[in-house]
């Protein structure tokens, strides 16, 4: 027996939860699926300063929880920690969307919004997989406290890398940022704060080449890009923030992807598959922020609503 919904949203990040708020308020029976807890990338961001409506900084985990509470208040169901073990997103002839969860539960809806976002991109260098959780981390809020009084490195130079470096100074004795370019890509305000910070040093124009150690990480090998020389840096830990990789597995082969693996959609978040929408960081677009994700989610839910009304006029 499968459970029926009007709208299934995959991914409980800002895009998916905004879609759920709009879907549930339109009285669509809305289910949100997430392989983890709600919030997406926001739940592990230590503070958010640019989301309108919060004149003081808000903790990412609090903003994430608030998004989820708001969706649930209007009747959306959020299924947490579920794994989609099979999916059929329908085609032109059979528009029903079907998901099997943990090999044991089937859910079906005539419309679906895929908002699976992106996850941290690994560097792809030697030793990285081996030392994951044993010296290498992709989440400062999760693992920062392990590095109390330690000398650590952060790889990257965009907003996430610089923001999270500032956060890590509350635990670490020193934070050395390793960045491939000669200046940060981060917003000027946080870049300046980092450059002034007594605990932060920067190795400009350096790139990691490998990770080494016995049971846990001890050394990061870096290349000095200007001098074309390789050095071994002793380290207690390395945090990697070098951008994100889109999570397009569910829709691969069904919808057009751009060269970087992001999904091309219409302006209304539609795809060539009827009743299938894609919203948030997973989309091919120029700027990926919480504000742009919630905008996408809003549009996708409104478009799905119109689709359901047109296609199933007898529904409420």
């Amino acid at each position: 027996m499968s459970e029926r919904f009007d709208l299934i949203v995959v991914g409980a990040g800002p895009a998916g939860l905004a879609a759920a708020i709009y879907g549930a308020r339109a009285r669509l029976k809305t289910l949100v699926l997430d392989e983890g807890v709600p919030g997406g990338q926001v739940k592990t961001t230590h503070k958010v300063s640019n989301y309108p409506g919060f004149p003081e900084d808000i903790k990412g985990s609090e903003l994430a929880a608030a998004f989820a509470r708001q969706a649930e208040r209007f009747g959306a169901t959020i299924a947490r920690s579920v794994e989609i073990t099979a999916a059929d997103l329908g085609g032109l002839a059979a528009p029903e969307k079907r998901f099997v969860l943990d090999d044991e539960r089937e859910v079906v809806a005539p419309a679906a919004i895929i908002a699976t976002g992106a996850r941290p991109r690994p560097l792809g260098v030697e030793g990285e997989a081996r030392f994951r959780g044993a010296g290498i981390s992709y989440c400062a809020t999760c693992d920062g406290a392990y590095f109390e009084g330690k000398d650590i490195h952060v790889v990257g130079g965009g907003n996430s890398a610089v923001e999270e470096s500032l956060f890590l100074t509350q635990f670490a004795r020193s934070v050395t940022i390793v960045h491939q370019f000669a200046e940060f890509q981060a917003e000027a305000s946080i870049a300046e704060e980092a450059l002034r910070h007594p605990k932060i040093r920067v190795l400009w124009r350096h790139e990691p080449r490998g990770f080494h150690g016995e049971t846990s990480l001890a050394v990061m090998r870096v290349e000095d890009l200007a001098a074309h020389a390789v050095h071994d840096l002793p380290t207690d830990g390395v945090f990697v923030f070098v951008g994100m990789a889109p999570q397009a597995d569910l829709v691969k082969g069904l919808v057009p992807l751009n060269a970087w693996g992001y999904v091309e959609t219409g302006e209304d978040m539609s795809t060539p598959v009827p009743g299938l929408y894609v919203a948030g960081d997973l989309r091919a677009k120029r700027f990926r922020q919480i504000t742009t994700a919630v905008a996408d989610g809003t549009i996708a839910a409104l478009a799905a609503q119109k689709y359901l009304r047109d296609r199933y006029p007898s529904r409420p």
Binding site: V37, E83, A134, T141, C142
Partner: protein, 110 residues
């Protein structure tokens, strides 16, 4: 906590983990750790499936720093697998899928 997952402290590590007759899983978790929260129901579910064949423990990292340091654990969640008093197999860490965990336990009890 459930019937199948028990929380221990480092003073029980030797007795519960190293001297266990069955294979053991040990999950280091932290507070303010969304992937740890995400893992909890999956860990429960898999523990239920393997009841009697493997034992499932959780250990709070903040209260058990020495053991985490000794085992070289620097991230949460990290799941370690033990058999006959020794750590075996690859560790699982970060965003862990239920299927991935189940496969690791299947290999551990095989």
């Amino acid at each position: 906590m459930s019937d199948h997952v028990h929380v221990i402290d480092q003073d029980r590590f030797e007795a519960e983990v190293l001297r266990s007759h069955e294979p053991v899983l040990l999950d280091f978790f932290s507070t303010e750790c969304p992937p740890c929260e995400a893992l909890a129901p999956k860990y429960e579910a898999v523990a239920g499936q393997f009841a009697g064949r493997a034992r499932f423990f959780k250990i709070f990292r903040q209260g058990n720093r020495e053991l985490a340091a000794k085992l070289g654990v620097t991230g949460s969640p990290t799941v370690l697998l033990f058999k006959d008093g020794r750590e075996v197999g690859g560790r699982l860490s970060g965003d862990i899928k239920r299927s991935e965990l189940r496969q690791a336990v299947e290999a551990l009890v095989a």
